[in-house]
Symmetry: C2
Subunit: 168 residues, 2 copies
């Protein structure tokens, strides 16, 4: 009745799997709670502000920003609408292509990131990196990249547009 050609998980893999599922639920929740409490931001909102703050001229195309922050374009559209209403981001059309929208971090948005980052970093440290050895950090990096690759994810570069002549 059962297809026993199925390659089931081994015992060790099952344990890893259970732990990993738990992580994917509780870690984002813990970070979200801290950000909401201390900064009135959701994790995804913070990620978007954070990636913008790292971009050349604090500006990115919506499309690239969505890929970088791991959200769909429609989702990003809503997030940025919220952030714009709070004065932290401004949207304006790309001059050379009227279809493309650029999102830029305002000065207030920059200040918000600067004010929020230390608490967020401390939370990430507390929940993830405190108590991990460098070897474990390296293993985590390899495994996480392996998994995201296997999920077919392709990310744009971390820095600003490579063809932007004003790039540092």
């Amino acid at each position: 009745m059962v297809d026993d050609d199925t390659r089931w998980l081994t015992r060790d893999e099952t344990h890893a799997w259970i732990a990993l599922v738990s992580l994917t639920v509780h870690l984002p929740h813990a970070l979200d709670t801290q950000l909401q409490r201390d900064a009135g931001l959701s994790l995804t909102e913070y990620q978007v502000l954070s990636w913008l703050s790292m971009a050349t001229r604090r500006t990115r195309r919506m499309r690239d920003l969505a890929a970088r922050a791991d959200v769909s374009l429609s989702h990003l559209s809503r997030i940025v609408a919220r952030l714009e209403a709070r004065g932290w981001v401004r949207r304006h059309p790309e001059p050379t292509d009227g279809r493309t929208t650029l999102a830029t971090l305002t000065d207030d948005g920059w200040d918000k990131v600067v004010a929020t980052a230390p608490g967020h970093a401390a939370e990430v440290r507390r929940r993830v990196f405190d108590g991990l050895t460098p070897a474990q950090v390296a293993a985590l990096t390899d495994v996480a990249r392996h998994v995201t690759d296997a999920c077919g994810v392709t990310l744009p570069p971390i820095d600003g547009d490579p063809d932007d002549p004003d790039a540092t």
Copy 2:
């Protein structure tokens, strides 16, 4: 202006962090997509059915099931209501304590799990374990447990109620 006592993430930790965030977004999404397509189930719904199928007498208290499946009790209440409407789970009160509700997997529910499990296992294998060495699996387990512990998660035992005299 900036509190430079902040213990920022190192370069390696930042890379690990970026990869880990990506994982927490894309891995659940990939698994959800496969289950939805092949079985008409969300990942959380499948997890609930799966944990029930492993429990002694296919029965668990709602409370324990919620903790085990990493969902809130209110969330579980809705999930089980959906599964009950589809005939895969039945709820009934615990005889010795009228407050407690027991959830039991029906025969149809069991068949559903049996039919769904191989495809799900294959997806987990493809997205996570294929290409990982045993050492990486072990490291993943350690890190994931470390993180969930740091998020203050406590899980009930995997088997059925320890004080159930009928337990195997």
